[in-house]
Assembly symmetry: C5
């Protein structure tokens, strides 16, 4: 039951806890997925890299104005006091603070002049249940810092960390806007993995449909359709987010980096296109299933009809000569029995030809 | 019957009473839901709060020009003379007055320079009937006052009243436009509760569909679909309303507060997104139902076909030897009967294998 | 047959009569619905009202330039010479003249600087046939006059006439553009009546569907769908018409009156919204019908299957012991018959339990 | 087979002949529908009309710069050298020349400053096959001339010729842009004839569906749907063409004539609206057919079930007393036979009441 | 299995290889379709043509700034070092380089001032499998050069090579932008060939549907629908690409050549239109199939019902007189047997008339 309820509630987060409260009052809406929040920090320029885990959020405050780039990553959103402290120090609008801890946001980008606020959805495909699981990622992009908030400790950003560590040229030379791009890119790249999984399921079901269409397959296709609807709902707003960001005229985003945003925008469009195509295919599969079931029923009906139509008249004939009338001349005749067999065989063969003619055999 | 009729008439209010009348003639269109209209008032600034119930609407007139904020709330729309008095004193356009008392408005925002007129729909989900019930809320936003009109006394605005009473910082320091935002936010927050209820129903029906698809479930899904159509019709225009308001360049709305309007706009979009997703899911459920019924029929047909196909030939054979011909050599043979049983068993086993082969067993 | 043909031909008027003719040649396209055209006139200012029936159109010509407002209403469009005379005197473009008499126009608004030309569709719901009947209304809005053309004498404009006669304030004080608004408003108000009728039908059919889904109900739902398609086609362009008019910058429309146009625009949107909702509901009804029929068939099949599956094996057993073999030991035994009954009952009870288990009983 | 292939190939012209060739190389793509191309010419001003058939295209060259209007009409597109000569003399862009002879163009308008190039589709409804046949019409509108290209000699433009001959006022006084309008208007007027034919078919099929739904009707509805898709594809771009032309700011189109273009634009919109409505209706017909077939099957099943359910138990009872057991006490009793009949009748009547109760009878 | 997987994976390229990598790191994503990359070059002006195969990409570098036109064509994308060398020498942005070797791009156009980057999809219809196969083509358009990248050696561009070789006027006189147009035109022309093949399949299936609707046909229609979805996904973005290019204000595209781009844009629109029409037709075919199957089942059921309904009562009657009651007066009567036959015949004829009446026979 518990598991079931999550299937529609994941489409939006319950606001009951919050309903009617003043905006700006921080309440963590969503499931607590991690024990204690974890703060990690990377500060770098082309030459230098400083990486550490922090116990107190206050330790990061010094990096606010330190050029060129400091990336503060926070895993776990339930320690709202910490978020409030960050908000106060970095000058984050109360509404933004509220959005960070309320995991039911729609992906969006908001330009607050001092910083840009981005909400994304990191998606994972849980193979066991066949469900897509969503996690909210918030990014605060300031002049010299980028703060990222995740619901739980994930491995999606590890590739970006590796790149920073390896001292590769571009990311170490670029500002926090490029870092933001790199994180978004990592998130969007993960969407392709889900597409891949979905595609495999589609193909598996198509094959099953061909071989043996069972009600379980139907249910599974329906579940897949639901997940696709959910997937679409999560990714669709990204299109607008990236488009808005691309066109944003903000001092926080360097002109030269818009080409990268355009690139990730193109990826998002491609994900959306593929989702739409998959939706069409799944919808076609349900039609195919229905038609296949009709076909099978047709086949069943034919067998019944052929058997019944052939044997019912024969049984009738046998029944006639099972009657006990005193005066039935045929009963006395010597050749009655073989003649009757001839008649029965003629009826039988006639029926078979009739069905052959109708192409039912 | 009475209850049924309400199901489509709620999509629009009957204009028959009003058809052809001059605009600006106030006629209360809708159900009278409350005995006598109730007037309550809150006037506040950061330091002070004055709260009272009024017997006569004239008592509120003094507050029109008193800074900073006076909130006049009227429950019950059938006392049109009162609305007219308000209209005259506060300088409300006759068309606006008419719209207030006609509860069949579409959500909209209209900027009359002296005031902004907003119409919203407050929605409730009646658990017993499974219907969504709509109530019209009108807001008149002036320079120093906000007048709100409800059809009946509700509890949705109580949370806002509480916040004002508690002397929380922001709402007491802000103007009537922020108060308007707070009310709208309370209304939109309630939409999420309906989504939650709808989601629970969907899950319940999905489970039922899986366990035992009955015609009652089908009817219930159809009813849910209808309510979803109604829900969508009520919420969809809010998108435009809030977008218009957000972009309005009015002296009555402070620049700094547009960020809050954008926030409630985002919530509305999310409600709409979820409604669309739910519509898709419900539509998929109807397909699933149809396919499941087809499946069940298929299964029924198979049982019939198997039974009939096996026993019809056997019965025929038995019928043959029930005939009373005088000359039937088999009847006299000693081993006829056991041989016949062998034949019958061979036919039976052959049939079973045939159906196994066809995967019908 | 005659009546049937009208069902699609009403979607557009046959242009065969006119095909290839020069524009500006007036030919009345449509059914002649009235014997002789009828001309009525109202000329008024706040103080004065002159109302009369005219025998000759020429009698109205003097009012062209008489301020403030003269309303000339013409019922019947087949007297094309009269239209031509009006056209010449009031300076109406030949194409406009042609459009007035060709009742197959799409609702539109055209600004010819000297006058504004509006085409509307007045709709009525014929209870007997269940069809929506459309009548074309043309309005010519000049600086001091308004000319309205109807196909037949109707009662929709009576309410407006009453208001003028009663000397109500606003309409008597306003110009011809307000009069035009009042007429359009009367037309659009009538759409709500049709929605009401449609809504009643929907509810009636829903109830019928629940109680007893017959092919007649299906046909009636289909017919309703058709009428809804027709309704939509007629009303949809009104959205654009009113939007265009609202935004028109014409000396003929006073700034202060745009608020009224916006009001009727809002009503139109609401009609369209409701039509869309009804379309969704009707479409759901057809699905419901189909599913219900499948359900019923399923039930029928179950009865057949249960009966056949239970009795076919029993009959077979009876057939066995109806055979006439000389050597059938069972026939001689004393307890054969009661034992056989026991066997039959066991089979019967087993079958019943099997079907109980399958939830078919 | 040949006829069948035309059904999809008509959606686009095979480009295989041309694939990879340089643009500007004229190749006639399409069916040659006429033996030799035919050139006719009309040159007129309000006072004068010169009309003749030309043997050589060169004879028309003198009229290029002769005011006011010369209309050169060419039937047959396969003589590409002729088109090339015209192109050279009148200064037609190679791409335009190519488009003229390639009959697979989409309706479009192109402004080449020296001339405007228009492509239209003239449609005919072939009653015998029930197919819509399309013919491409190209118009070259120059300052003093209009050249029209048709695939074959048609009668659609005859009405325009008649008007020119009769010396009617407007067309003889207007320039070549008005002539172009008159030709387009004639083409669009023809679309209404097709709508009329389609409407008749729809009504015929609706009636048939009601009386006796056969697979042939289904096939015919499907074919009609296809033709509607084709119709829509041909007409839809006309909307854009006329809209573009209407807004074109070209010295070749007189300001005063845009009102006529708007008129034909309105007609096109109406055709498109009606096509959309028809599509909805046809789609509803297919649903209706499916539901009707399900209904009929239901009825068939009921008959079978009633008969089988009544007689199978009766036959079983008769079978019991046809058994040959030695010790069956009932067989000896005197009243067994009449009592059995009573039992059979009771069973029979009980069954009938049961089915009455179930409303199957 | 391997072949199956390709059916959904072709909708997007697996990014797993690349996920999380820094942009600008070249990794060939896609299948390696060719052994070694092949470089061919054509350099020409109206008078001169130089054509050769290159072994080393460095040999082409000299042509970068040589007016007027050099076309470098590279078949095979797996030699990423070569792409990097080109990138460095010609000043290609790292993201562009990455896009060239990642064959999962969506068609797009990007203006990098120094060059324009175009991605297209070259499509082929594999007759054996019935699948559409896609190949990515990238074009780099510089001031004096055009570099084209293909996945494998194809024959689509041969027609353009032929035209250049033949010294035809236009292409030899034009710049690299015209060459780019010529290549795109060749690609788009190929889309028509696919439409042709698809159209043939549609017609074949329609005919089959009419003659004998089998589950194989249904599967084939479903597969066709899938390919159509894929086709649409590949071609749809071309609309935007060409529209953007057409409106691009770049020094690299000559004003005079936009007319050619518009031409290929029109072709693309026509392809898209036809795809949409085909989709509608295919969707109609699935409905037709379902209805046809229902029809066939109806027919089967009728045969069964007729046979069973006629013979079941007859068999019952025969069963009655097969009973062994001692006291059955009819058994002794002389005329019982012939009378019984009369009764049976009357029942039989009555049934036949009943079914005739019901139009089942």
């Amino acid at each position: 039951m518990q598991k079931k309820i999550k299937r529609t509630s994941k489409f939006f987060k319950k606001a009951s806890k919050k309903a009617g409260m003043s905006p700006g009052i921080l309440v963590h809406v969503g499931e607590q997925k991690i024990e204690t929040a974890r703060i990690s920090m990377m500060s770098y320029d082309p030459a230098r890299l400083e990486e550490k885990e922090l116990n107190y959020i206050e330790d990061s405050f010094a990096y606010r104005d330190t050029p060129p780039v400091s990336w503060i990553n926070i895993d776990g959103l339930h320690e709202v006091e910490m978020i409030e402290k960050i908000g106060t120090h970095f000058g984050i609008h109360p509404l933004t603070q509220e959005d960070i801890v309320n995991t039911g946001q729609r992906p969006k980008v908001e330009d607050f002049e001092d910083y840009i606020y981005l909400v994304l959805k990191m998606l994972k495909f849980d193979e066991t249940s066949g469900h897509i699981v969503s996690e909210q990622v918030s990014l605060i992009l300031g002049p010299h810092y980028l703060i990222s908030f995740q619901e739980t400790q994930g491995d999606v950003f590890n590739s970006v960390r590796e790149r920073i560590r390896k001292g590769r040229v571009h990311i170490r030379k670029s500002g926090p806007d490029y870092l933001a791009y790199a994180l978004i890119d990592a998130v969007v790249d993960h969407y392709f993995l889900i597409l891949e999984k979905m595609g495999e399921r589609i193909e598996h079901f198509e094959e099953q449909l061909h071989v043996r269409p069972t009600p379980e397959i139907l249910q599974a296709i329906y579940d897949l359709k639901r997940e696709m609807i959910y997937f679409r709902k999560q990714v669709w707003p990204m299109r607008e987010v990236l488009n808005t960001w691309q066109k944003a005229e903000s001092a926080l985003v360097q002109e030269a980096n818009t080409v990268f945003i355009r690139d990730v925008y193109d990826h998002t469009i491609q994900v959306i296109d593929t989702i739409e195509s998959f939706r069409d295919i799944i919808s076609g599969m349900m039609d195919l299933y229905l038609s296949t079931v009709s076909n099978k029923m047709n086949e069943v009906m034919k067998v019944l009809t052929i058997m019944a139509t052939i044997f019912i008249p024969l049984t009738f004939v046998a029944g006639i000569y099972g009657m006990n009338f005193k005066y039935m001349p045929e009963l006395e005749w010597k050749w009655s029995y073989p003649v009757l067999w001839m008649v029965l065989i003629v009826i039988f063969v006639g029926m078979v030809f009739y069905f052959k003619h109708k192409k039912w055999l």
